[in-house]
């Protein structure tokens, strides 16, 4: 057996893979947070709950409507995104003129409502979600075993992340979006319907979270509290990366997933805390964050 630094290479690559998987979710969620924050100036505390909602939607559709994984991958983000749009219209739109903090408090309240409701109906235990037929099994790469589903998660989240980056940084719609982030009043004066754009942005960010939730369902089980702890880690990721840059959010997400995975190999006791420690170090060395633009 090959060993690296006294660790069997299979274990090392295995944890590296898990790190990349976690990193995919960090990247997808922090991307959504950054897009929402850019347009709405609100930190969406309900992001974790909406991620959970995506997984729960997939679970319910599979068991009660017979919609399989592939259907859920498309339908769940649409449904949860629509819920997001309703939330934006009913609650969030009244907060844009207020201090940032109220947005955080309101979405925190929403997160409690969503999580509490889910716990009442589903209980706190995890519910299993079967792997889709087509993605069972795996490849033997010689140095490690690569389950197909994990490879799929990493691939898809990379595609989604870079697709979002491309849409925002390289297309006309993205240019409107960036312009509206900088100066909404001016963009409105050019005849672009900024309020609708804001609503759709929130819907898109929420749908992204739900999409991540569906992808996570076969890996982590579906449980009401799956989002709550994840969102706090994602907050740390966002603090480290800074929300100024889309690419920054993606890179930080994947990078920290890998760091976490490696910590699990070399120093397992610290694997829960390592991201927060990295955050503390970044705050000491580069207070604005790795890709931040001040404040």
């Amino acid at each position: 057996m090959i060993t690296i630094f006294g660790i069997p290479s299979a274990a090392l690559f295995g944890q590296l893979l898990i790190g990349l998987i976690n990193g995919s979710f960090y990247a997808l969620l922090s991307l959504g947070l950054a897009v929402i924050f850019g347009m709405l100036n609100i930190i969406n505390f309900a992001h974790g709950a909406q991620y959970m909602l995506g997984a729960v939607a997939a679970f319910l559709m599979l068991n009660f409507l017979g919609v399989n994984y592939w259907g859920a991958l498309i339908l769940a983000p649409l449904i949860v995104g629509a819920i997001g749009i309703v939330i934006e219209r009913t609650f969030l739109q009244w907060l844009y003129k207020l201090d940032h903090l109220y947005g955080l408090l309101l979405t925190f309240g929403l997160a409690l409502i969503i999580e509490g409701t889910a716990r009442n109906y589903l209980g706190s235990a995890g519910l299993p979600y079967a792997l889709p037929e087509a993605l069972r099994g795996g490849q033997n790469l010689g140095f490690m075993f690569l389950p197909n589903y994990r490879a799929w998660v990493i691939l898809v989240s990379l595609v989604i992340c870079f697709g979002t980056w491309y849409a925002i940084e390289r297309t006309r719609l993205g240019a409107y979006l960036r312009a509206a982030t900088e100066n909404p009043t001016l963009v409105r004066a050019f005849g672009i319907n900024v309020p609708v754009m804001i609503t759709l942005t929130y819907g898109f960010g929420v749908a992204l979270a739900a999409f991540a939730g569906v992808m996570a369902a076969p890996i982590y089980n579906v449980s009401p509290q799956m989002g709550a702890e994840l969102i706090i880690v994602v907050f740390a990721v966002v603090v480290i990366g800074g929300m100024g840059s889309i690419l920054g959010a993606i890179l930080t997400g994947f990078g920290l997933g890998v760091v976490e995975g490696l910590t699990k190999v070399f120093f397992p006791e610290a694997s829960n805390t390592v991201i927060f420690v990295v955050m503390a170090i970044v705050l000491l060395v580069r207070p604005a964050g790795l890709f931040g633009r001040g404040t």
Binding site: V239, N272, L284
Partner: protein, 326 residues
């Protein structure tokens, strides 16, 4: 809360005299509060009241930051919970007297507050909230891992012991008087801080930080001192809670606790002196009454959050004060 910038007086540190009406109102409020705390044990469970006073002090400490410096800490469970653990450990394992156990817990909170505060004040606004939350979560995992905290069980059967070696705190009346004394002392200290020249600078930072900087105040230092004070007082509340209820557990240090103290303060009224106290009693009474509905408490709390943010941003006390001002 920099958006609502009201002009800050240009002469440095002139302590604005509060209007006579405001002073009177605060005095009347204080008298009512003390009177209510004295008679309340005859009407309801003393243990509930003691718990509520600990949480009221916790919320007051939190309010010192959000209400008077405009900093939203979403990780105050760290100071409350860790102070609670350390004082419980000191009382149970090291055999400290209650006053020294509380002091040890409080010091722990102060040190944690200094470390977390130094990191958190490097960023502003929304990032500040996220950093404090993340650091608190880190310390939650540490508490979960460490042996002395007892993991899921927590530290149970903490002895109340003898205050100063001779006052028996196992007697419910003495315990009540002691908790009330701690609460009132903390409350008055916060009142004193808010109305001191130091407190005026804090409010200036809340209203307009760049202007406070241009007036020559080292605002980071003020923010850090306020943060440490707030964490320390949260530590007093946590330690006292551990001795009173004789338990320290993961609930005290986990993120829902941080959310709960925000909720208490928001319901009572951000930036009002009595708001956190009212909020703490209201929220705890609600939890007490609703303990049978299980997980729905979470939903109800969420609904209160949403309602408060959308409709009652001034909170209970803020609304009452606004009525009188008319």
């Amino acid at each position: 809360m920099q958006a609502s910038s009201s002009p800050v007086s240009a002469t440095p540190v002139t302590v604005r005299q509060p209007s006579l009406l405001q002073r009177q109102g605060e005095l009347i409020g204080f008298v009512i509060m003390v009177a209510a705390l004295i008679v309340a044990p005859y009407f309801t469970y003393p243990l509930f009241l003691m718990q509520a006073m600990c949480f009221a002090l916790f919320a007051c400490a939190f309010n010192l930051l959000i209400g008077y410096v405009g900093l939203l800490s979403f990780g105050h469970a760290l100071y409350f919970g860790w102070a609670s653990y350390i004082s419980a450990h000191a009382a149970k394992v090291w055999g400290f007297n209650p006053e020294f156990a509380i002091l040890t817990g409080t010091l722990t909170a102060a040190v944690c507050g200094f470390l977390a505060g130094s990191l958190a004040i490097r960023r502003q606004g929304i990032y500040f909230a996220m950093i404090t939350l993340a650091l608190a979560q880190m310390m939650y995992f540490v508490a979960l891992r460490m042996k002395f905290t007892g993991g899921e069980d927590g530290i149970q059967a903490v002895p109340r012991g003898y205050l100063f070696g001779f006052i028996n705190l196992n007697n419910e009346t003495t315990m009540y008087v002691f908790v009330m004394a701690v609460f009132l002392a903390g409350f008055l200290l916060i009142y004193r801080i808010i109305h001191s020249p130091f407190g005026e600078v804090l409010k200036a930072i809340r209203e307009n930080e760049p202007r406070a900087i241009s007036l020559g105040y080292k605002t980071d230092r003020y923010k850090l001192i306020a943060f440490v004070l707030s964490a320390t007082l949260a530590g007093v509340a946590g330690s006292t809670k551990a001795i009173t209820l004789q338990i320290a557990s993961l609930t005290d240090v986990n993120w829902p606790m941080s959310g709960e103290v925000v909720l208490m303060t928001l319901v009572g009224g951000l930036g009002t002196i009595f708001g956190p106290v009212v909020g703490a009693f209201v929220i705890l009474a609600m939890q007490f009454k609703l303990s049978s509905v299980g997980e729905w408490v979470l939903v109800i709390q969420g609904v209160i959050f949403v309602t408060c943010v959308l409709l009652f941003r001034r909170g209970i006390v803020g609304e009452i004060a606004a009525l009188f001002r008319r």
